[in-house]
Symmetry: C2
Subunit: 274 residues, 2 copies
């Protein structure tokens, strides 16, 4: 694991690492924020999964998480959103291929050899983080848009690995949305039953979540029809899932939305992880 | 003045405007953050001038100022760093021409027709802001790197227009630095006496500042030799200028440095403006 950059940030360290990934069959890059508390003792981890077109860097520079992570003593991990590089399949569309891994293990060509973000995050990167960074095994997960989908699907299927879960404007019901059907069919094939394991609304119906959920959604989000928060809300209500889904008036889908509520989410996770 | 974009941010509004500029002879773009308090009453203004290569957008997305401006009830104005567009002179170097206006009125060709950022900020944009946005005439100014230089030189020469002054890693003594001599000779010609009006250290020696100054400087800044904080510090000490110059251990020149101390600067200005 090579260090690409390190910047002092709110008394802690914003680091970027690159490493060869066996899971993805390419070099992968991720960001890690270590709060000042990590100088003295291992700290809990908040995973932040990013959305379509993002690399590890967008949320690291625009999400405004570090200030709150420093106050609460959480590390934050910023994974990339897909495998990348020459020899890795891609598509001209912004919402398929590189930058759009959707946190699944692809089973269809040309994506199958590299697009294994589900295993990458849960196994390979998690192990790297636990081995190399001063962190504990108390982990929370959040994310934005496609990354909110990733956070919810990974946590709902692996409740033993995560102690807290929240999301910003998640793609909440991708089996019923153009942000989902296109990618799930490309990566997993046309048998829609294989898609169910990657749909937060279906997974919440099936598994529930062991604790409260926190979901923030901009009420003026330009992609509201693609995100389908109403499907998730209906399932939360039907299943009597503890949690809060906040429709924030006037907010859109941008990082101005994410960083406006980053403090609430970091505090929410810190209350459960520390 | 046309609105280019508006995003809800920390309960307020992050707006971007474009307008024809008589001063610069081209279209100019700037960002304006209006805090929630501006819905009810005019609010004081903090000007944030950006550094080399930046547009109006960099600090707006990475500077982390909005959260604090919302708490304290300040508007923040993010001007561009130069005139831009076809027909506007430019240079291949990152540190001359478009993106590198240095907040002067150029007197030499090819820069003279458009590069008039000193007048643009102080007169044209100030008037636009006062006319069109819900703001008072209590104004503070800050900036980063070339923008720190801009903030200090504009305020030191126009103490009647600004009620508070701070800077992040300013180019503090450009007449003695490769970040300065090159640009001042290009924009103003070889007579170095014309440069003195654009050197914070010289201006502070001459005028002082009517209140305390706040200067933050990363002690691990990769450009420390070009910024010359030691010249400014020597003048502050010699002149017994009230103020604080903080050398922040471990911090570099990046926005990770700026946003780590954005809260301190916004609070500093708010204490003087509200």
């Amino acid at each position: 694991m090579d260090i690409v950059s390190e910047n002092r940030s709110f008394g802690g360290r914003q680091q970027v690492f690159r490493h060869p990934s066996n899971t993805c069959g390419c070099e992968m890059t991720f960001g890690a924020y270590l709060p000042p508390q990590a100088e003295d003792r291992p700290v809990p981890v908040l995973w932040y999964l990013s959305g379509l077109t993002c690399t590890h860097e967008n949320a690291m520079t625009k999400g405004g998480l570090q200030e709150h992570a420093a106050r609460h003593g959480l590390a934050v991990i910023f994974p990339d959103t897909s495998p990348r590089g020459e020899g890795v399949a891609d598509d001209d569309a912004y919402d398929l291929g590189q930058g759009a891994g959707f946190y699944v293990n692809a089973t269809r060509d040309p994506w199958k050899p590299h697009f294994r973000m589900y295993d990458y995050i849960l196994s390979e990167l998690r192990a790297l983080v636990l081995d190399h960074l001063p962190v504990t095994d108390r982990h929370g997960i959040t994310g934005h848009s496609m990354g909110g989908h990733g956070a919810m699907t990974l946590a709902l299927r692996n409740a033993d690995l995560f102690d807290s879960l929240s999301a910003f404007a998640p793609i909440a019901n991708p089996t019923q949305s153009d942000w989902g059907r296109k990618q799930l069919s490309a990566y997993l094939g046309d048998d829609e039953t294989a898609w169910h394991a990657h749909d937060s609304t279906i997974l919440l119906e099936e598994h529930g979540w062991k604790d409260e959920l926190l979901i923030d959604q901009g009420a003026s989000d330009q992609f509201l029809d693609l995100l389908r928060p109403e499907a998730l809300a209906a399932t939360m209500a039907r299943r009597r899932q503890p949690g809060i889904l906040r429709l924030q008036p006037g907010y859109d889908h941008s990082y101005f939305f994410v960083n406006s509520f980053a403090g609430d989410h970091v505090a929410w996770h810190a209350a459960r992880l520390t």
